[in-house]
Symmetry: C2
Subunit: 273 residues, 2 copies
């Protein structure tokens, strides 16, 4: 099953456009997990199991593991997700970008070592830095287009031949890079107008949309701008607002994450039409 097929199935089966981002920042983990060997694994497993019926994808951010030398823990988290929830796509957020021979190594890292269904990549070095990932024909390649941070405008909003660079990237991916139907794009929720522009350029291509939750993007405007005709087409990511949700009453962290994930999924669904 390809990434795109799996994603479509997860949208339907969980009635959800919510992507749960796994950014395990050690100081923010529950105290008993901070001191435990493989505490990050235990944390992520609990979040995954508590939210797997509410999510269309999980997205571990490799930087949080790499900073700690915890790649082995990331392997275990990915293995758990694949074994327990094989119908939910696993997106490795790595944003790699390098020349062909090196890109091939990064593809091996993402697809073979971690078994990811899809990986995020940077477009700056061009098609031959993205093409090696496509040798894994059942996997997805999610290209940075318009990012949700303030500095995103530094390059992405430059006028490139009559329109902003991010629109040029969207067109390039839609017209040329997506020849095997493996591509998706990262487009931030902080700019709904620009999300709508990208949607109009790329047809039904899936969009990975960070920027709601802790980053403050408006869910209603985001869904209206980015949905496809059938009310799907997006993986709307929330990381910190879910995984570090404040427990209420006698909830544990996983129950709190489930509560916020459910509320977020339901709020998204109210705008899907």
């Amino acid at each position: 099953m390809t990434f795109i097929t799996k994603l479509n199935a997860a949208w339907r089966s969980n009635d959800s456009l919510l992507c749960v981002g796994l950014d395990p920042d050690l100081p923010r983990l529950p105290e008993h997990l901070r001191r435990q060997p493989d505490g990050i694994v235990a944390f992520c497993k609990a979040i995954i199991d508590a939210t797997a019926d509410l999510a269309c994808a999980f997205k571990p951010q490799i930087a949080y593991f790499a900073a700690l030398g915890a790649e082995r823990q990331l392997e275990k988290v990915c293995a758990w997700l694949r074994a327990r929830h094989p119908h939910i796509p696993l997106i490795l957020d790595a944003k790699r970008g390098d020349i062909g021979a090196t890109a091939h190594q990064y593809a091996r890292e993402a697809f073979e070592r971690y078994g990811a269904d899809a990986v995020t990549v940077s477009p700056y070095m061009g098609f031959d830095s993205v093409e090696p990932y496509m040798e894994w024909e059942d996997r997805g390649v999610i290209v940075l287009c318009r990012t949700s941070n303030a500095g995103g405008s530094d390059l992405q909003f430059l006028d490139a031949g009559g329109r902003p660079l991010y629109q040029h990237v969207a067109q390039l991916v839609a017209d040329k890079w997506n020849r095997n139907g493996q591509c998706a794009l990262v487009v931030g929720a902080t700019f709904p107008d620009e999300l709508a522009q990208v949607r109009s350029i790329v047809g039904d291509m899936p969009l990975l949309v960070p920027g709601i939750g802790a980053q403050g993007g408006d869910i209603g405007a985001t869904v209206a701008a980015g949905r496809t005709a059938d009310g799907a087409g997006m993986m709307i990511n929330s990381s910190r607002a879910i995984i570090y949700a404040e427990p209420q009453d006698d909830e544990d962290f996983a129950a709190a994450a489930r509560r916020v994930a459910r509320a977020t999924r339901d709020e998204i669904n109210r705008y899907r039409g």
Copy 2:
């Protein structure tokens, strides 16, 4: 000592602009090392020791380690370089690019875990994706500008406000991002005219120049286009042509690497003026 100070000292003490790239592709290692635990460490240590008096920097490419799950071996290679050859800068080639909180994690990975003097980063997400690295005030941040691969032109050569995007990036880094004097740029050797354009924009800023050796860039044209007035200003990288040099007569792989590294350094020096 800052990265830039250390680099200047290495240029002088080794009379060299040669950066030795460490891309340890397992199938290309000598057979006895392929099957040995920590064989990559043994390979890289031997290359480092054989060429440390001929190089101005070493540049391990993290993808080759990540594909194998060999981060621990990369830690050992970096520790060896820092302990045995502390005057030679260590550049981690990672080309990361992500939002602030995540960039901070990647900076910890590069500067604390691996102890790199400098790291390569992508500019696509803008200044707030690069700024977190600068909290480590003695380290260097080497921003992708004009890469040596064919696909580099896909984005970097787009007209962005009257000039190619890569020139805009060079200007942006020189005028704004380099406020602490920590920046350098990646500019490929395969386009000497464009290297000269970048040099004219950025003054004496160091340039990391891949693309000679296996990638075929012309050394004379590269040095003429990229050198500063004092005949330095560049880290001219060669990876595969050095580390996989074919042994002659009874040479071992490290002696072969040394022979090619010396010839490359000397050829570069013939054009420094």
